[in-house]
Symmetry: C2
Subunit: 255 residues, 2 copies
């Protein structure tokens, strides 16, 4: 079912060339080592990435379908931010401002389904539990790394701020905490991925990361063990809960 | 790579029997027609579902890793709710209360990868853009229907409310709007799924849904056309944006 390695390599070349021609032409600093490690592997290439961000968007007043073009960016940061900057950006709102923390997102095209499965296990075990595969009819297999980790707070209506500066300060702390946890998960993703790849090919040249210990080479088997356990418990637990809903999100809500 | 239909049928029986023995033993009202339609098909069975909910959870004060058992439910509703009820529930917070809107979630085990691909296309085209597949090494293929549609607002700290009742009223309206949009998407999911299944087997007995028009029988081809278009544009667009991030969420933020 997988396409030939030649076809895959052509897709990879085309995609990575396009990246170089793009406006920004670079990958977020915090995700670069992950992107480089994946692109150094014949069987993977990344098609998009964002290391995580705190954004403040201004949308039009309610009613009707909102088009992307109608949204305006008031603030964006890929690092922890200061509440003064958010308060200042909020003062420019003329519609419905919403503060969001969006976690790490990564799309990786994979040669074979097994490659995507490995990556999916790595992602889930690093804390990116909403990760999943897309398989197109033409044979393109994409693994999307996604988190359950978020924050989405409407803050103004018709340009009028609905909360005080103290609350914005509190939200900034929350967003920054989530950003730090997000960085820890990216680091974990890199470590587990590197250990899994090294276990498969012990002669793999290690990419730059200071914190990989020898014990992590045994991580690949552990990745699968934990994954299997999680799948078994999911089927049982989720249905047994009071309202057929998973309570798991609670874990992510406050961390 | 798919398991035999006999093995799949056994898994299905075991899972559906367990459901009947569970504490609640029933599926959320608003998702029932979707769950029934899927379970009526030999190649699918649902392993968990939640039609969408507005929840207020109380977590412990900051610091350390938060365990599920440390979270307390102050309020839960699978329908639009009243702000008075939220304000009243908030008064019982003793830690960090967070208001969340969580959209429709559905996990479906699929016999073959093609079955999961079909379902994935239906989900994405109904607006559930964070949907994705999980493929285990034992051959279990799960399609998870997930939305980008959310709301997550911290509201108290150490039991002390950080916002006014007027803001809680505003948030209730936002959450209720998202709930209504979520219902529209579930309805769309049901319609597109039914049309896709009917196109494959014209003699399929239609499940109860009042709003399916004959034209929707042509939807299956359209599902794939739209999906293909989306995939092509994604690869190009996401990298071209100012910061390698997708702006797509803007669409969902305010709708």
């Amino acid at each position: 079912m997988a396409v030939s390695m030649e076809t895959f390599a052509q897709w990879k070349n085309t995609t990575l060339e396009k990246l170089d021609q793009s406006r920004k032409g670079s990958v977020d600093e915090r995700a670069r080592h992950v992107v480089c490690l994946l692109n150094s592997q014949e069987r993977f290439f990344t098609t998009s990435s964002c290391s995580g961000r705190i954004v403040l968007m201004d949308g039009p007043p309610e009613g009707g379908v909102v088009q992307k073009k109608d949204c305006r960016w008031l603030f964006i940061s890929h690092d922890p931010c200061r509440s003064e900057d958010l308060v200042s950006a909020l003062s420019r709102s003329s519609g419905e401002a919403v503060l969001k923390f969006e976690a790490f997102v990564l799309h990786v095209q994979c040669h074979r389904l097994e490659d995507a499965q490995l990556l999916h296990s790595v992602a889930v075990n690093s804390g990116f539990r909403n990760s999943g595969l897309t398989v197109s009819r033409s044979g393109k297999i994409i693994m999307a790394v996604r988190s359950t980790h978020g924050l989405e707070v409407p803050l103004s209506h018709g340009g009028k701020l609905l909360v005080g500066a103290e609350y914005v300060h509190f939200l900034t702390q929350k967003a920054n905490q989530k950003m730090e946890e997000n960085f820890r998960r990216i680091h974990r993703f890199f470590q587990i991925l590197q250990a899994a790849l090294t276990a498969e090919s012990p002669d793999l040249q290690r990419a730059e990361d200071p914190a990989v210990t020898p014990g992590e080479q045994e991580n690949q088997a552990a990745v699968y063990r934990r994954r299997r356990k999680r799948q078994q418990s999911q089927t049982h637990a989720e249905r047994d809960e009071e309202d057929s809903c998973s309570l798991d999100d609670c874990l992510d809500l406050f961390s």
